[in-house]
Symmetry: C2
Subunit: 639 residues, 2 copies
């Protein structure tokens, strides 16, 4: 995953043992040598077999790279590769470094446990991406994400062939980059949680080694409260400003009417742009609230003078100025939908959070664009929802080929209001892998069941890249029990799913100081075990007599749910982190009992349908996923 | 854990929330400020509550350090502290930096989940260590341990107040330090897996920040094959030499008869000793095989010339020379038992792997010593075994106070033949915490059941330091199933225990290239869940009628064991990593059935006692821990 463009299995298999070795031919390239070493180390973790530079071993995997190319990955570079695996060995050929990296990622996924040990089944693969821009945006501003979190996510990105790391670095709630020119930005705007310039360079190099471009985002002129804590003169209002603690859209915006604002940005870009070698530089530009501009006599007088009739025109003026500042440093501006305005040159890139329509509109007007609407990971939607969003569907369908070519790809977005460094991996993975497949694989790759089956495998394998999306679960549950045996909590946790931004924002007044230690934080966005039960329930519903194994699996789960509540209530007594879960646990028990009745061919208890509808609504900022398989059985019974 | 010297609970409790802040008074000290920041960050992980430098909050924990002291921690420094917690706040006072670090570690352990949220119960603690030398030895040579592994173990050491990191850096199987003077040491002796000098400095600084001394070990004159791969002239035999792949004691030894050997060591020490600021420098000196020395005409002629009557005398001569080389660089020699010889000055330190007798003998002769016999973690003995070993018991009992004062403490030893970076944390933790308590807490702290109860809590809390002793379990089981549902394997895994060096060495021909991906690697040294069942079984045996909860817990476990085999056998079909476990799973089912019969007041099946004896023997390099609770019930039935 992502599924290769073409893949032809053949007979035989290549054995993987401690004599495994990969060798490089073609132009010598230190980065590729390092990539091979990392690849071997990962294979070693994945199999538990020690592997290291074994000088005497013959190479089992021969890598031929025609021309490794320049220092850093670039938009539009050739990412193709071919991979041939036979019983005697494997050959990976690619025109450039990117293809080699992708081919190694594919090879790692092909390694399976056979009945003789680890092996790769013989295959011929020819592969290249459908879209050139396949990104993950990480918000390091709402909650700070330590370096280690960023690095392990870069490794996971590389494993599923994502090639753009869009790094959201400033917000109302935090300014996360060290500035030597304007030190009060990070000193006063970050609560001490920022990346030094050396760390930024380290991350950029780390990403580059993995074939990943880094596109920084400094969101202006809105989302800028943290800038103004140290430099209130940047703001439209006089200030003073404090670091934002609440979520939501702030009214604060840079003052577009003062020349000093542009001088500040000019100096800031002079300092910061060299840290990020990529051509593209993101200025955000989203959700600018007009209120302060409209209320400011100074801004209004200035706008009148410049014939700027409204806030949108003011922002376009601002963006035009910013675009020129970036252009003189060789950078191309990228921004969210709102930056789209005829005054801006068509070489800018528009990132659409509003939808495919807005993306298509940009393409029609000659702008290049990427899609992020439909790829918001922080909504905690199921993978299939994201998987079904195609940048070329909807309004993009009607574009001319020339216009369609302007749609460069897409980006999964991980906004960080409701996640911390502890939980963020589990909010990104494995669902981002489904988006990665959408952006890499042929458009016809749309089978959802196949996607889920492969995603479950990839989710396990991502463990070996270091992301903690599975590993964080047990410690968080352990924490919640305060030392008591965790099993009843785990049964419940496996049956629920976390909810995303909107329901959480509705449920409680969150700030950046709110603990993120509840079930809503520990629970996965999508329950793997409930998904398996849904498949089983669908089979039982379709063929009750022929699905004995599925019925048995359902019976085991339902019995466990039914029996769990007594143990859970005992565990939850006097525990403030578990109190809100008591009714959820009761509901789970009721679902278990109803499921058992349905399996036995009885009908569900009286009034259960209404109960089920109630249970489907959020409770304790959770969705009770366990309703789904029971509902399938109930609906089947009705026919 | 370790239990403080004195501890007086009182009424009330201190609430821990996002306004928590610690402040420092007394002499300003950047290291302590950093320690406070780390402490707050860990508290934040432990509770899931965001905490960061909140300038406005009043300090809930006031830290007063009389005199932070010099750059690095030192043997014998004052490590005492007092900690007062009341509902209004806490005060930590210490004469030096070490005491502050220990007090913070204690405070972190006192944070519990109460019915209103996180809190610390009011208490007054006065604490100081029983022994000044409380170490963990890590073998980074047999299997290489990456930097991240070392760092997270240093964090865990600090959490249980261990203060010496003894770093075993060279072996027959690998030379792990970059040498600029003799680059073939690491280039040809390490398979590319070594620490650069910058990395060494980084680790030493990291340890020092956490109050931990780093004592490097370069084992000479035996255990030196890896040195001779690049420099065969160092060897007694002409070579050539290859990096050792097998375990066990090698015959290769440095040539003591050539002056060039000492020149080499002199230059080597000149380069390496400045990397390690600690006063003590470990030269190993263990297990020197006399064979090559005895067979070498050159060595024999030289020995006769120098009146060295046997290999022991030769080694003493060698050590005396080495001791002088170290002394001229301000270092004090430390070595294993074998270095003990009247020709060596009494300022050297002897580390006893042979036993308390050998330690006491050294103390009688005026040498200082530390105990490691009884603390070999790689034997995978139960924590209670280590816990019962006291450096001052046995022969040390008869020492005069002056002699007894020469026993500085002890070190847990983690030899790495049968562990890799993936499993090493689970071989060290939580059992090393029991050794840490033995070395810190008053001699009267000997209640094993209390130790186990506290160790289980500490084991969970160590998660937040980053060690992977619990987190590595699930991915390893996932790997073994090759993608199939893991639960039947987990039931089995929870019921078995890994075996240590001797049984594994007897079971198969291991080399450094052998995969470490089997159940013997994933299984814990001690099963927490079986221990809980043992306690339950003991209660049921003592009071069958009054132990209904315990009987129910046993019934649940026995039922699960009995039912697990069918599912396990299905999972194991065609899986080479699970094949060896098929009979173990059958035995577990038999134990479950016998346990159920015993609970029902029936007798165990005919011949079961003999079966049980068979099951207690190692199988698949595992111990079937599940035998223990069943045996308790069976023996109770016999009375």
């Amino acid at each position: 995953m992502p599924l290769p463009a073409t893949m032809r299995p053949s007979a035989g298999k290549l054995t993987i043992d401690s004599s495994f070795k990969a060798s490089l031919s073609g132009t010598p390239d230190a980065r590729l040598e390092a990539a091979l070493a990392r690849f071997t180390a990962q294979l070693s973790r994945q199999t538990g077999i020690p592997m290291f530079a074994n000088k005497d071993a013959a190479a089992r995997l021969r890598v031929e790279c025609a021309s490794p190319g320049g220092e850093a990955p670039k938009l539009g570079e050739n990412e193709a590769y071919t991979l041939d695996v036979t019983a005697d060995g494997a050959t990976l050929k690619a025109p450039g470094r990117a293809g080699v990296l992708h081919g190694l990622a594919t090879f790692a996924q092909l390694v399976t446990l056979g009945d003789q040990g680890y092996e790769v089944a013989a295959v011929h693969i020819e592969d290249q991406p459908r879209f050139a821009w396949r990104g993950l945006m990480l918000d390091s501003a709402r909650h700070f994400m330590p370096l280690a979190v960023v690095k392990r996510n870069l490794d996971a990105m590389a494993a599923v062939k994502l090639n753009v790391f869009h790094w959201h670095l400033s917000e109302d709630q935090g300014f996360r980059v060290e500035s030597k020119r304007y030190p009060k930005l990070h000193e006063q705007g970050s609560d001490g949680m920022f990346y030094t310039q050396a760390e930024i360079r380290d991350i950029v190099a780390y990403a580059s080694d993995r074939g990943i471009r880094v596109v920084p985002e400094f969101d202006i002129p809105g989302h800028t409260t943290a800038w103004m804590v140290g430099y209130p003169e940047l703001g439209t209002n006089p200030g003073p400003y404090e670091i934002g603690r609440k979520w939501g859209v702030y009214e604060n915006a840079l003052d577009p009417s003062r020349e000093e604002t542009y001088t500040f940005l000019d100096n800031f870009f002079e300092e910061i742009t060299p840290l990020f070698p990529d051509l593209y530089f993101h200025i955000g530009g989203d959700e600018v609230v007009a209120k302060q501009w409209n209320a400011s006599a100074r801004v209004q007088a200035w706008a009148k003078e410049h014939n700027l009739k409204d806030a949108h025109a003011i922002q376009a003026y601002f963006n035009t100025r910013v675009q020129k500042l970036l252009q003189k440093r060789g950078k191309v501006l990228i921004g969210w939908d709102e930056v789209l305005h005829p005054d801006l040159p068509t070489d800018i890139v528009v990132q659409s959070w509003r939808g495919q329509k807005s993306l298509a509109e940009a393409a029609t007007k000659g702008y290049r664009g990427i899609l992020s609407w439909g790829y918001y990971l922080d909504h905690l939607s199921p993978a299939k929802f994201h998987y079904r969003v195609d940048p070329m569907s909807g309004d993009a369908d009607r574009l001319t080929p020339e216009q369609a070519a302007r749609i460069l790809g897409g980006e999964a977005c991980m906004w960080a209001e409701y996640t911390t460094s502890e939980t963020v991996d589990s909010r990104i993975w494995p669902r981002a892998a489904a988006i990665a497949e959408r952006l890499w694989s042929p458009a016809a790759t749309v089978d959802v069941e196949s996607m889920y089956a492969r995603m479950a495998v990839v989710s396990r394998e991502l463990e070996w890249t270091g992301v903690q999306h599975r590993a964080n679960y047990a410690p968080m549950l352990d924490r919640m029990t305060g030392g008591a045996p965790v099993e009843p909590l785990r049964v419940l946790a496996d049956a629920v799913e976390g909810l995303g931004l909107s329901p959480r924002a509705r449920a409680a007044k969150y700030t950046s100081l709110t603990p993120m230690n509840r079930m809503a934080d520990a629970a996965r966005p999508e329950s793997e075990s409930v998904y398996a039960l849904e498949l089983a329930a669908a089979k039982v519903a379709a063929d009750p007599k022929g699905s004995t194994a599925e019925a048995a699996a359902l019976r085991t789960a339902f019995t466990r749910w039914a029996a769990n509540d007594a143990r859970f209530q005992e565990l939850a007594a006097g525990n403030p982190l578990l109190a809100e879960l008591k009714p959820v646990s009761k509901d789970l028990a009721a679902l278990g009992n109803a499921g058992l009745a349905l399996l036995d061919g009885k009908s569900a208890p009286d009034g259960f349908a209404a109960e089920l509808t109630r249970m489907e609504r959020p409770n304790a900022e959770l969705s009770l996923a366990a309703t789904r398989p029971v509902k399938i059985l109930m609906n089947a019974g009705r026919k």
